[in-house]
Symmetry: C2
Subunit: 273 residues, 2 copies
Amino acid sequence: MTRIACCQLAPEFGDIEGNTARAAAAIRQAAEQGARIVVLPELVSTGYVFADADEARGLAEPADGPTVTGWRGLADELDVVIVAGFCELAADGRIYNSAAVLVPGAEPVVHRKTHLWDRERLIFTPGSDVPPVVPTPHGRIAPLICYELEFPEWVRIPALAGADLICAPVNWPDLPRPAGERPGEVIRVQADASINRVAIAVCDRAGAERGVEWTSASLIVDADGWPLAMADYTAPSATTLIADVDLLESRRKALAGLSDAFADRRPELYGTA
Amino acid sequence: MTRIACCQLAPEFGDIEGNTARAAAAIRQAAEQGARIVVLPELVSTGYVFADADEARGLAEPADGPTVTGWRGLADELDVVIVAGFCELAADGRIYNSAAVLVPGAEPVVHRKTHLWDRERLIFTPGSDVPPVVPTPHGRIAPLICYELEFPEWVRIPALAGADLICAPVNWPDLPRPAGERPGEVIRVQADASINRVAIAVCDRAGAERGVEWTSASLIVDADGWPLAMADYTAPSATTLIADVDLLESRRKALAGLSDAFADRRPELYGTA
């Protein structure tokens, strides 16, 4: 079993120093509770609701800048894997909504969000690379960022490439839902997991920002899509979820009887629709 | 709004005469309640738990045999669209797990299940055609059969081809789930619908058969994946679900803000994984 933590923080817009300090404190606390893998929200160092691309550029950092370097130091010091979102300034000057994967003793691995939600397309360049599948002492981890989880073709790629765990920094805006229903994003994560027989750890955020409210529905699901831990989204708050997950389960794609989630696919019929 | 009915019947294995009579009665009753589209379970005319291919062959009928011809007559007489599963004997002697779509005044359209669950692969030939998208007076209907719903690449195909409603005859075997959780199949149907912004009507079955219990979780979800009607799967029984569905909603792929479920896809990145 691997202990996984999702630190559902409440970033303050533009306060990189305060946000990274709060993130570091949460990571330390999760490590003290035995977590070996810690997931933080999307864009946790800067906040999310950029007015425009210029504002994002003013807060962006390269992947070897102080924010990611700080997380790298924590990963090494605490012997934890960290997956966290940041606003990336690329060498060519472009701005990406990115997630860093920090494995103790290894170079940072960065994934750039490919499917941009709503106004993000006015601010960020979309990434054009498939999510990496990063070897760690606990299994193979793939980062996906928020809206990427809503495209099953995209979730399928790291799953087929052998990911044991998808770690997803998200900022889920709070959308309407019928009384008594789980947020739609939660339902789709459950489906993503069970369809691929892969565990998923989602770290959402709390704290209204420039008028946007967040779902605050962080969750950790097993390879059947059943929640092992889920934030109380009816009372959004900064909180840390912890669950012990059997990541070896993600390598067993067999379903009931002769059925197999991967072997039963018919890719020859799927085309590139 | 279009009134849709799912007749969750309890077929008796091998009793084609009784099963088609019960199906006809349920279709008539649904039509009397104003349903314009009626969905029946997978393999509703024969039952599901075939011992082997020979037993299936003994019960199979061609697409112009009495079972489908009977449904065609009901569709014409009652002016309802019918989607129902049957055991098909093809001209070349092969046996398929098929669904017929009967539109009043039109030739029957048949879909052959492509993704075969568990022991079905020992009995049926897998279909090799994408699901048809059938024009009807109420919108464009695509049939999918049971396990096909569990492959999001496959659900995507009729959705991208313009289906307004997916009608799914199923026989969901009752698999374990944590207390308080909906059946995993229900969760995945909710995700299928919301990811594609397409309404889905699923007709499950009741009645244990040769030791197999069924989930009996028929449901009708809107294009956001929210249930409009759902059978009480905690007390499985033969029952008919009815819901009024705005099928025009399925033509609106816009999500919040600038987001769009279809336009935001990145098919150039998906390959044929």
